[in-house]
Symmetry: C2
Subunit: 451 residues, 2 copies
């Protein structure tokens, strides 16, 4: 029979079992961490009507989207989890309670040019809080606090959540009479990290057509740095010149104060005036998250406060605040950098039962005893020589092999072999289960990410 | 601004939060249950090359598939999890260990005619064991044992896993000289439940063109019923007439014996000679699972043993055995029948912290204490009147409200209100956490499905 070459499309991540186990662990931590803060899990279709998905229209998104006809329907695959959330909230408004807090971990699709580390199918892990008309600023501090806790549970320590406020920026541009150029300026300032202050100054003068003194003002403002307290103190010097600025500054001060209440250490967040995010969506606090030792990766978790989640679907004002982890990319980078722990068990099972006898009844009973203690247990039922059986145990990397021969059956025990140390003990099935469970718990005690 | 009506495509399930929580619980149980038997989680792309996905080609599948172009690529959405598994195993053969045991819970796509209870996007929850050249029959008993345990954990009791063996059927048709008509006969016999023996006899004679005596033989064979032991005893009367039949009978006897070893009660499995499944794929044991009180639903979990998982991709013989739960449809039916428990907590959080004070520091600390005990905790930060706050607590159905006013702050306690009984107690934060945690555990002690 002619064969089709089995292959996975470029830009689509498909992991081998041990790697997949690591990703699953990360997803489990995200689910549990998000749930702990009272976010409800949501699941929306991958396919939506193109009209609905592209209600906002235009831009890069439309070019990248997977869009196709099926029968009479013009369909598209979701390219983020925010548009489906907007649709969901507008559609089910009457049945939801506000603030509505949801998390969603799901695949999204963008037909970008394929390149190393860029994916066309990738997981996003989002949390959002949506208010009905109003939303308290406490939420703008809680969101980065959740990210701090989530990253900490994953085992990340060396990261910084960079926080800014769009009102602060808009107010600053207004007080300098630069509001009309704010978009261009922000796009240019965004390059500070990459090209440096000198080049940004040139661009501001030559391309954005700013007076040198105004460009200087912008660069001075963006250069404000130091501890969070020092930054706030420096910003206070601008107070009283623009109402929006003052409001943004008050919000920023409130958010940083709440962040401390939430127990986020000073070293894990920083007020950073260069953060702006999308130009026409965010209206208050904005976030980016940088891995301290890997700034080249860019932000691994971004978001902010917006005023109108669902303006393309409803007249109701639905303000919100949310953040998104680009999970597939984060996983890819952590893996590339060797930051994913190999200590945690990634084998398909904790214990592999190897029966050396014809009859399987005892082996089945042994496996049942181990599973009762929560141990992931596989029975190896293949008729193979002992050496081949042990070879399989080695190859799948199972921590414990449970050997069952005539002797074990007669004595009502199991021979438990620690595959790492080679140590072997004979124990009654229940004792064997406790023995293995304790060692597995110790193996899994560490975190997914090892810095 | 003109609005686009927010809507979800017909045939796509999108649940409200409380319903989604129930589905999530089911998925969690499936994941944990599958893992307990040493299956490793797998995740394959939703989009594959159409050439790869349709390697087998032809049939109903091709008509239902979502297929589209993107750039030069001919793409399609997966319509089951078996074809992607075949691709995966063929592609990664050298890096896998066999038997290879994987589970996958994922969405698949079929552009069927939309009708009530039929979905175009739906979850399948599959387990498969793949051998390299050979695979021990123990696996054919373990698969339904896993389903028994999984369904039991979900809370289902009144179900029956119906087991048959394709060799037994093929052998029976061979000994009657009906091998060529086996396909037509099986398709006709499949209607027994619906149209009864008389009509099936007519069809066998009139349409399949069988001699009346042969049709009688088929009906007699298919009518064999009783306890599993009685069925096996009746089948023993055919022994010695066809080698394939005898082999199938031996396999069936072995599988039923192992099923008992695995602790599957007799009332939850039945040898049923009318089960055949797909005509050209399964080669040994086959399964269907019926909800005893809802036979009209059809099989909620089906599968079987096959000889060649990946014959379209590789020359290697990769036999396997697997089973698939149509999760979305099962969930839909359980929900329609009112079989999903309302006792388990479906609110987005276990405890809702309601601060009555301006300062949020104490409320944040209280929430942190509750979360430390694993309680899903939300802080309600909106500036609303007490009545509106309690109204929100009511509306989201949270089991416990935690009230914080000046008194509580001063005394270092929390006022915990049981929203069901109205009972209110004042406790130190740690005590409050223990108090709530105990009650939440009791609320969640039941199972997802209530029969």
């Amino acid at each position: 029979m002619p064969k089709v070459a089995p292959r996975t499309l470029s830009g689509f991540m498909e992991l081998l079992p041990a790697q997949q186990m690591k990703l699953e662990r990360m997803m489990k931590i995200l689910r549990e961490s998000y749930a702990l803060y009272g976010f409800t899990p949501l699941d929306t279709p991958v396919i939506e009507s193109a009209e609905v998905l592209l209600a906002k229209g235009g831009g890069e998104t439309e070019k990248q989207i997977y869009r196709f006809q099926k029968g009479d329907s013009d369909l598209a695959l979701r390219f983020d989890l925010t548009v489906p959330l907007a649709k969901y909230v507008a559609q089910h408004y009457a049945e939801l309670s506000f603030p509505f807090r949801r998390y969603q971990i799901g695949k999204v699709y963008r037909g970008e040019r394929a390149q190393r580390g860029r994916f066309r199918e990738f997981y996003q892990a989002d949390i959002d809080v949506i208010g009905d008309g109003k939303l308290d600023i406490l939420n703008e501090a809680e969101i980065p606090a959740i990210i701090y806790n989530t990253f900490s549970k994953l085992g990340l320590r060396r990261f910084k959540i960079r926080v800014n406020n769009r009102k602060l920026l808009n107010g600053f541009y207004a007080m300098n009479g630069m509001s009309e150029k704010a978009g261009d300026i922000m796009r240019t300032v965004d390059k500070l990290d990459k090209i440096g202050a000198e080049k940004v100054r040139e661009l501001l003068i030559d391309e954005v057509k700013m007076l040198p003194c105004k460009a200087e003002n912008v660069l001075d403002f963006m250069a404000i740095c130091g501890t969070n307290e020092e930054v706030v103190a420096a910003l206070e010097r601008y107070r009283g010149m623009d109402e929006t600025f003052d409001q943004g500054l008050d919000e920023l001060i409130t958010v940083t104060r709440y962040l401390r209440d939430f127990g986020v250490p000073e070293e894990n967040f920083a007020v950073d005036l260069t953060i702006a995010r999308g130009l026409d969506y965010y209206t208050g606090t904005v976030y980016e998250t940088e891995m301290t030792d890997h700034p080249e990766i860019g932000s691994v978790c971004s978001g902010g406060r917006y005023d109108n989640l669902a303006e393309y679907y409803t007249d109701r004002q639905l303000p919100g605040v949310g953040i998104s982890i680009g999970l597939t990319r984060l996983f890819y980078v952590l893996n590339e950098q060797g930051l994913l722990s190999d200590e945690l068990v990634t084998a398909p099972c904790d214990a592999l039962v190897l029966p050396m006898t014809e009859d399987m009844g005892y082996a089945v009973a042994a496996a049942t005893a181990l599973r009762k203690k929560g141990l992931r247990t596989q029975i190896y039922g293949e008729k193979k020589k002992f050496k081949a059986k042990m070879g399989y145990a080695d190859k799948i990397g199972v921590p414990f092999a449970v050997l069952i021969g005539e002797d074990e059956m007669r004595d009502g025990v199991l021979s438990v072999k620690d595959m790492q140390t080679g140590e072997q003990v004979r124990l009654a099935p229940d004792e064997a289960a406790d023995y293995i469970a304790e060692k597995i718990a110790a193996l899994n005690a560490g975190s997914v990410i090892k810095e």
